[in-house]
Amino acid sequence: MRIGVFICKCGTNIAATVDTEAVARKALEYPDVVYATDYMYTCSEPGQQEIQQAIEEYDLQGVVVAACSPRMHEVTFRRAVEKAGLNRYMFEQANIREHCSWISKDTEANTRKAIDLVRMSVEKLRFNEPLFSSQVPINKRVLVIGGGISGIQAALDCAEGGLDVVMVERESTIGGKMAKLDKTFPTIDCSSCILGPKMVDVAQNENIRLYAYSEIESVSGYMGNFKVGIRKKATYVDWDACTGCGLCMEKCPAKKSFDGFNEGLDTTTAINIPFPQAIPKRARIDPKYCWYMIKEKCRICQKICPVDAIRFDMKHETVVEEVGAIIVATGFDLVDHSVYGEYGAGQYPDVITGMQFERLVNASGPYGGHILRPSDGKEPKNIVFIACVGSRDPSIGRPYCSGICCMYIAKQAILARDHIQDCNCYVFYIDIRAPGKNYEEFVRRAQEDYGVQYIRGRVGKIYPEGERLVVQGMDTLLGTQVEVDADLVVLATGVAASAGAKDLAEKLRISYDEYGFYMESHPKLRPVETNTAGVFLAGVCQGPKDIPASVAQGSAAAAKTQALFSRDTIETDPQIASVNERMCIGCGKCIDVCPFGSIQWKTLRDGSQKAEVLDTVCQGCGLCNATCPPKAIQLQHCTDDQILAEIDVLCAGERHG
């Protein structure tokens, strides 16, 4: 093989502490190296041309560039050599900047190190073979998991682009958390007025198939060709028949059923449609409360249903959908404030969560939009908002900031002042986090125009005194304790990962952080991708964020899907495992260890069982390679021979020099 070596000075970044010329000179002594030089900026346009010319001139078959980290410019240089007619995998990069010139001022030692690193790259390159990626057809359907605002946004954007969309929602209606909100900050526009139309679009768009009250059961396959098992939970109502007329709700006698949509502030009927604008507008029976389900009598709904859609014998069923990409938009839960004994551990009826407050002020809420105390239905005079409940609190394992609370309590305080002119609003905060567009101004307005009292300090304890609640807080700016006789206390409960997040992550083979939020591929540069190709993230399932950010991420995920689907086939990364069938003893160890299920059995003509790698599924981790007893399965471009060669020259070099 004819190899060319290029040592980058990177201005002075490398040259200052590495004698690049010496390294180049040394490189010429290595086997197969026919050309070596150093250059000011190898990654620059002229730098790349220099490489291409050299390839021409010395008809090189492989190139080594010693420069920055391959995580930085490997792609750049591969493209460069490809332009010059080489296979892009006939290239190796030695990292003599981040791992050498930048971490020591000792030029001698650095130069020695650079020489070794180049030597190793050359040796590895000598074993490189041209690799060619294969093409697989893409199934251009996308699965959106979660029917919250960011899921809806993603689904609509995809459908807009003509893609078939499958949407799966756990609850019996889409809309998610946003559907429960009254107004949205910082514009105070009505939440359902802006969300409602989008929900309707989802229902009406013929490109979207909606599975409400369903959950993901299993996921197999790979980017471009996933197989997804969807579990349609029993609603005990035939949704094809049900018209959502709501007659059953009027007649159902089990009126004490838990009303999840109203955050438990109200009760509903055992058979119910969560709220008037629900999509799909279909009734569902809650078996925990239905009289017939518990004590075998009633069946009133069945009698009065005009289209007799009631099916008490309905069972769960599983359907399989095939898609090419998956957008995960599973949203979040709110921190359970019952861990705060000092705030009544959820025992005080007039200490409510922010989300409950949303239902209180909402016109379609339990009190028709009048803010009243849950305990006695009286109008509160003093309303206290407490920030950071379940946020920034290592003592309950939640050190992170939930990001949205500062804003939503400012909004709620404003709403409270709007609804009850003569009420006093107090906000206990630690710091105000208002980084969004017009956010800070909004918070200022709450204080300047709406006269909301902001008190910097956390609340120590809340205790009932007669009908009221005494809120014992601190004004750290004044350095004095303050007490408020509150009629209503609103806890700004923080954001927690959704309960089922981890199970779903296991099914999707995506990773999650210690709090259960899904991990993006790169915190800055790949915010919606996951490390499992073809699975994208949208909304709060990836980390706390507000509506604009969730929507933006929903669109971003859709865009990523569009980009992926803009091709008819996908090019697979050829740096994957491949089996040498002659050596394979068919032990199946590789099949067991592969984290991606990318290895399967293959029966040869002689009936013998061999392992076979699915090119498109293999992610190239090399676990199988390390496991295979006869080393029949090798990770291409990172074979045992290559690694051992690197070790060998490195240690040998040391021994003789």
Partner: protein, 302 residues
Amino acid sequence: MSQTAKRIAYYPGCSVTGTTVEFDQSTRALCTALGIELEEIPDWNCCGSTPAHSYDPLLGAALAGRNLALAEEMGLDIVMTPCPSCLKALKEAIRKYEEKQQSFLDILQMPFSGQIRAISVLQMLYEDIGPKTIREKIRYRLTNKVIIPYYGCLLSRPPEFARFDDPENPISMDKLLQAMGASVPEFPYKTECCGAAYGVTQNHIVGKMTGRILDMARRLGAAAVAVACPLCQQNLDLRQSQVNRYWHTTFQMPVVYITQLLGFTLGIDPKKLGLDKLFVSADDLFKEKSEPLENQTQLKSA
């Protein structure tokens, strides 16, 4: 529970030998009745309390440590004390032993393994006896009497140190009182501080603290406040007159030890319980004894 007499090392602590002797009396009487063998640590000394700890935690630890060492000498692995601040001192000693073993032992100069466990009277009543047993054993019930459970600071705090009950909303005393048939309202000041040692040095502080507590108790229609800490009892009972002067109030709120209440319901002679030692008389509380209710309680326990 403990049919075969359970042996526990007993550390009374200075205050119960003097100003709060009735806690000591009732505790002993109660344990005898419940078949728990209290073995007073022979020739015990002061635990050092806050002063010694403020002087230097190591000194406090060593002083308390002597008592623990003596208890280990008795071959017992649990030491019980009626006084929460003594309890804290004892636990503190065990912690110091874990943290600064060498210097601790150098100063103590006694064999000590650090294996011993320190508990409060309340903890023993709740964990070793338990409401169920009490419901079975009592002879008189405090029917339709509102009794306020007041825990004070130290019985359940700080959590990882006390390792007992809930730090914010403890329920052990509530449960015990309910077992005695009393009606127990939600008391918001359960763990509010009573003013602690400031009775002596800054008693206006105590005035404010205890005033709030007594006031809330009265508003909840309390017949009495039940306590399990001598300091709390002193501040609420002995100093109630001072509180009245401070707030211009007329509190006449009996402040009774849980051990006294329990002793009474078990039918122990009030003399043995030192009921006469209370400053605010609790006689009304114990005056009209409801009839012995063996059969009824039997049903309950069944």
